[in-house]
C-alpha cells in the first residue's frame, strides 16, 4: 500500500485518490487551435520530479503533489490554492497571456 498525504485529510491510502495528470500552463483564451490542442493533448511525460493533480475522492478535494516518476516516491503535497490564485473567466473577453503563472485548469 502506498500512502499519499492529503493536506486536508492527512495520510491516506493512494487508492483513495484519482491521478489527474501533470499541472499544465493554461494558454491565453485567444490562443490558436494548435496551441489549444497542445494544451489538451500533449504531455511532458517527465522521467523525474513532476508536479501533478490528485483528487481525493471521498472528500472531493483536488490537491497538488510533487512526485518522482522514476523512484516512485511522493515528495510533497499541498492545496491547489497555493498554485492557483485566480479563476479563468471563460465569459470575459480574451484575457492577456498569463506569462508563467499557472492558472486554474478546468
Amino acid at each position: 500500500m502506498k500512502i499519499l498525504t492529503c493536506p486536508l485529510n492527512g495520510p491516506r491510502n493512494i487508492s483513495e485518490f484519482v491521478w489527474g495528470g501533470e499541472v499544465k500552463i493554461h494558454p491565453p483564451l485567444d490562443c490558436t487551435d494548435e496551441e489549444w490542442a497542445a494544451y489538451a493533448a500533449l504531455e511532458n511525460n517527465t522521467a523525474g520530479v513532476v508536479r501533478e493533480w490528485w483528487y481525493h475522492v471521498p472528500t472531493a478535494y483536488w490537491i497538488i503533489a510533487e512526485r518522482d516518476t522514476v523512484k516512485d516516491v511522493i515528495l510533497r503535497t499541498y492545496p491547489a490554492r497555493e498554485l492557483f490564485k485566480d479563476r479563468v473567466d471563460y465569459d470575459a473577453p480574451a484575457a492577456p497571456a498569463a506569462g508563467d503563472t499557472p492558472r486554474e485548469t478546468p
Partner: protein, 418 residues
C-alpha cells in the same frame, strides 16, 4: 527426426544453432538505424531485409534483445477493434501471424482459441453490437452472443445471476489467438540477422544528429550511442515506454504517458480453459498458456511511472473480479508477476509514420495493445522506409491527428481488451 533424436540423444554434443552472430563493433554508417530491439524493431528489420533487400541496417537496443514489453505481454492476438482504421490494420496483422511459423521455420506456438469480451451492462452490449457490425463490414469473424451462447462456448465461466455483475452476453471473435511472444521476437531477429542485419544489444541511443535545423525539424544524419556515433540515412524509433525520452532528442512532444501495466501467471494446471476471456467492465482478462499457466492481467496502473514494480493493489483488485468469473480458482497459487512500461495515447490508437524531421520515423503509442500489431508494423514500417511513402494503412495514425482534432476513439476496444 527419429534418427536425429537417436544420434544426438547418444552424443555429448547437441548441435545448438547460433541464431545471432556474436557482438561486434558498430560500423561507421548504416542505411537504416532502428532504435529499439523489441518485436516492432526486429520485425521492421526482418521485412526490410527480406522484402526490400535493404540489409545495411542496425537494430540498437539499450538492454537485451526483446526484453521490453515484447517479453512482458500476455500475447493476445485479435482484430475485433472498433474503428475502421484499427480493424483494417489489426486484420492484416492477424493474417501475417497465421503464416509466421512457416516464414521463420520456428514454431511460435500460434494457438487459435476464440476470444470472448464479456458484457455485464446494457451499454456494454450496445458497444459490442457496434463493434460486431464494424468488424463484419470488414470481413472479420465477430459477433454478439447472448448469455446462453456464452455458457455453451465457455462452460467453465460462472454465468449465474447471483454475482454482482452477471454476464449478459459477449463479443465473440473466433480467430482470437495467443502465441509465444519470445519466439516471435527471436524469429524476426534471427531472420533479419541471417540476411545481414546487425543487431546490437546494450547499445543505448542518447542523441540524434541533424542538419538544416533552421526553425524546422531538419534532416537526420546520425545517431549518438553509448558506444559512439554512427551516420545513417534513415531512422525509426520503436521504444514503447521510452518513447518520450527518445522523441525528446528531436524535440518532438507527443500525447503519450508512460504508465505501467502489470500481469501475472498462476502455477501450471492441466489444460481446462480453451477460450480467452476478457471483461472490460471488471478490468480483467485470462487465458491458459500452452504450459498450463493461467495468464492474467487487468487495466493499467492508476498513475504514470517509469518503473516496473508490482503492487499488491493490482493483485487484490484483479483477483476480486477474477473469482467472480471463476470462483473455483480461489485455491490456485500465483507463480510469477511482473510489469511493463506502456506508452499510452489518449485515443488508444498508435502513433506512426513521419515526424517533423526528414527521414526520421516513429512507431509508438502501442500502449497495452501492440504485441498483436508486431507483424503489420514491421511490414508497413519497412515499406515506408524503403519507398519513402507512408502506406495508407499507417496514415490515420499520424501524430498530426491531435492538432487537427482527428482523434481515433479506439478506447471502447483497446482499454483493457488487449
Amino acid at each position: 527426426m527419429v534418427f536425429a533424436l537417436l544420434k544426438y540423444g547418444l552424443s555429448k554434443h547437441y548441435p545448438a544453432k547460433h541464431q545471432f552472430p556474436r557482438p561486434r563493433e558498430l560500423k561507421k554508417s548504416y542505411d537504416v538505424v532502428i532504435i529499439g530491439g523489441g518485436g516492432h524493431g526486429l520485425a521492421t528489420a526482418f521485412y526490410l531485409a527480406r522484402d526490400w533487400g535493404i540489409t545495411n541496417v542496425a537494430v540498437l537496443d539499450k538492454g537485451y534483445l526483446a526484453g521490453g514489453n515484447t517479453a512482458r505481454n500476455t500475447a493476445i492476438i485479435r482484430s475485433n477493434y472498433l474503428t475502421p482504421e484499427g480493424v483494417r490494420f489489426y486484420d492484416e496483422s492477424v493474417r501475417l501471424y497465421q503464416d509466421l511459423s512457416n516464414d521463420f521455420d520456428l514454431n511460435i506456438l500460434y494457438s487459435e482459441r476464440g476470444h470472448l469480451t464479456l458484457a455485464h451492462t446494457d451499454s456494454a452490449i450496445r458497444t459490442m453490437r457496434w463493434r460486431a457490425e464494424v468488424n463484419k463490414h470488414f470481413g472479420i469473424n465477430s459477433e454478439l452472443v447472448l448469455v446462453d451462447d456464452v455458457k455453451r462456448l465457455c462452460p467453465q465461466l460462472d454465468c449465474s445471476d447471483t454475482v454482482r455483475y452477471p454476464v449478459l452476453g459477449a463479443l465473440y471473435h473466433a480467430p482470437g489467438s495467443i502465441a509465444r511472444h519470445d519466439a516471435v521476437a527471436w524469429g524476426y531477429g534471427a531472420g533479419a540477422a541471417m540476411r545481414g542485419v546487425e543487431i546490437h544489444q546494450r547499445t543505448e541511443v542518447i542523441g540524434i544528429e541533424r542538419e538544416g535545423v533552421n526553425g524546422t525539424g531538419g534532416k537526420v544524419t546520425g545517431v549518438v550511442t553509448n558506444r559512439g556515433t554512427i551516420k545513417c540515412g534513415k531512422v525509426i524509433q520503436a521504444v514503447a515506454g521510452a518513447t518520450t525520452r527518445v522523441a525528446d532528442m528531436i524535440g518532438l512532444k507527443l500525447p503519450i504517458r508512460t504508465i505501467p501495466l502489470q500481469a501475472c501467471v498462476s502455477q501450471p494446471l492441466k489444460p481446462f480453459l480453451d477460450k480467452i476471456i476478457v471483461s472490460g467492465s471488471l478490468h480483467v482478462y485470462i487465458s491458459q498458456s500452452s504450459r498450463g499457466e493461467l495468464v492474467m492481467g487487468g487495466s493499467t496502473d492508476p498513475y504514470a511511472l517509469y518503473g516496473t514494480r508490482s503492487t499488491l493493489d493490482f493483485k487484490e483488485g484483479l483477483m476480486m473480479h477474477m473469482l467472480e468469473l471463476f470462483p473455483y480458482l480461489a485455491e490456485v497459487k500465483l507463480l510469477r508477476q511482473w510489469a511493463g512500461m506502456t506508452d499510452m495515447t489518449p485515443d488508444f490508437a498508435p502513433i506512426m509514420g513521419e515526424t517533423h524531421v526528414q527521414n526520421y520515423y516513429i512507431d509508438a503509442g502501442w500502449g497495452t495493445w501492440g504485441f498483436k500489431a508486431t507483424p503489420v508494423c514491421g511490414k508497413r514500417n519497412a515499406e515506408m522506409l524503403a519507398t519513402g511513402q507512408v502506406p495508407d494503412l499507417i496514415k490515420p495514425f499520424t501524430y498530426r491527428r491531435f492538432p487537427e482534432f482527428r482523434q481515433l476513439g479506439e478506447k471502447g476496444a483497446a482499454s483493457v481488451g488487449h
